[in-house]
Subunit: 269 residues, 2 copies
């Protein structure tokens, strides 16, 4: 089911700047038993990302009204907000009405072992470009992710890891990354590229509230391969332990499994 | 007027990957007296850009059939080809039918003096990110151009110039750039960022056929300010001399005006 500006439909204008330029932002999150998981956090990020692009974000009430119209109690919801329509040309119109899309899809059927036993990941060849003006924002310019995801078709590989041009690991194609080393967590700095997800923020918060040391800093490939534990997170998958990357193998470690429980509990709260 | 997959319409699917990810390419060119200007060159670029993203480009005949249905003899046509619809997720579907959009707009009403006397340009603060995997391709991930174009609202400024992170000039927000120095032309190397337009290629060809030395190489800001002549080009504007950038002023120089005549003649041929 799709709602476009609150009305059930299947299409948007061919003149929408979301299509023309990727001039918009999005969020993806599960709805479980009719309840959008971490909705307040998702809305806060959406509003923040709209602000980064100077797009007028529709109100939380507006989206809550849309969400109440969805016909499924368990699904994945994708929200898109674009700058709306305009005449030809890059200049953002001075007065534009944003387009909002709220679309539901079936929850993905990942093997249960992804969470319990961990996943094999691919090290992507594509290197993420450094663009501080757009870094961390979940915008609609996602060709890098598409090209990276197209690098493998082996269905036993659950995710791909992306580096920047200096071979620092930035995250997964659809997830954020954490490593554990000597009892402390590290997650990549996203000031030049990558997307800052809601689950990443939550992991950082939980580390803080449970006195687990955590640093946000560059993670080199050497750091990654030398890590005690590696895991990837997003709102739909929760926490997946990473257990294989090229010839390196890890166990699903204690910090990873602890964080997985906290995230699952918080999502179900 | 818009044709979506050959049929008059105003909308595309909200599940199109062009909206979701900017997963597609486009071209923009004038139609004059019912004739798409440099159509063969435009189609060749479109096919080349589709190939770069591994999108099946519809045939030239298909587009020619679309173009023949347009209801205006003088207009700007924008062609978009996306990877089409897919279920949620970055992975390109193994069998996807591309979406093609052919949309006409009125020819822009630029002041005639832009071509005859030249234009004032803005030096953009935004720096283009280096992404060799997408450089030169006219894809739908154009947020950098949108942010750059949003930097000025002074209507006497006709274009903005964009640099990369090393402060090499790459081009305009909607145009390619050339400088002249001591009788030779230089245009930026686009192997890490920027868009390679049809008019850029044509200027390079004309320089070759008229024995005007031309190099494709990095142009620093110092090179730019030290140039004898500066001009920007695209299929819609032709050639605009650049006559002012910050406190620097140029004349519309002889190489610029010569190239402008050749381009105009070739477009009208």
């Amino acid at each position: 089911m799709n709602l476009i500006n609150g009305i059930a439909g299947a299409t948007i204008s061919v003149r929408d700047r979301g299509l023309a330029y990727g001039d918009g932002v999005f969020r993806t999150f599960p709805v479980r038993q009719g309840k959008p998981v971490w909705w307040q956090r998702q809305y806060a990020k959406l509003a923040q990302d709209c602000a980064a692009l100077k797009i007028d974000c529709p109100s939380r009430d507006t989206f809550e009204s849309d969400l109440s119209l969805l016909d499924t109690r368990d699904c994945v919801v994708k929200i898109i907000v674009t700058r709306g329509n305009s005449v030809r040309g890059y200049a953002p119109p001075s007065a534009s009405a944003p387009t909002r899309v709220v679309a539901s899809s079936p929850l993905p059927e990942y093997p249960g072992t992804h969470a319990t036993q961990g996943v094999k990941v691919h090290l992507c060849n594509l290197r993420l470009a450094a663009q501080p003006a757009l870094a961390a924002v979940k915008h609609l310019n996602r060709l890098e992710n598409v090209l990276a995801r197209a690098e493998w078709s082996d269905s036993t590989v659950a995710e791909g890891l992306l580096c920047d041009a200096a071979d620092n690991v930035i995250g997964g194609t659809m997830s954020n990354l954490f490593i554990a080393k000597a009892g402390a967590l590290v997650t990549p700095d996203l000031t030049a590229c990558g997307v800052a997800g809601v689950t990443r923020d939550t992991v950082i918060e939980f580390a803080g509230s449970h006195a687990i040391p955590l640093q946000v800093k560059a993670i080199s490939l050497d750091d990654l391969f030398a890590a005690d534990e590696v895991f990837v997170v997003n709102s739909v998958i929760g926490v997946w332990p990473v257990i294989a990357l090229e010839r390196k193998a890890w166990a699903a470690g204690p910090l990873t499994l602890q964080m997985q429980r906290w995230i699952a509990d918080a999502q179900n709260a």
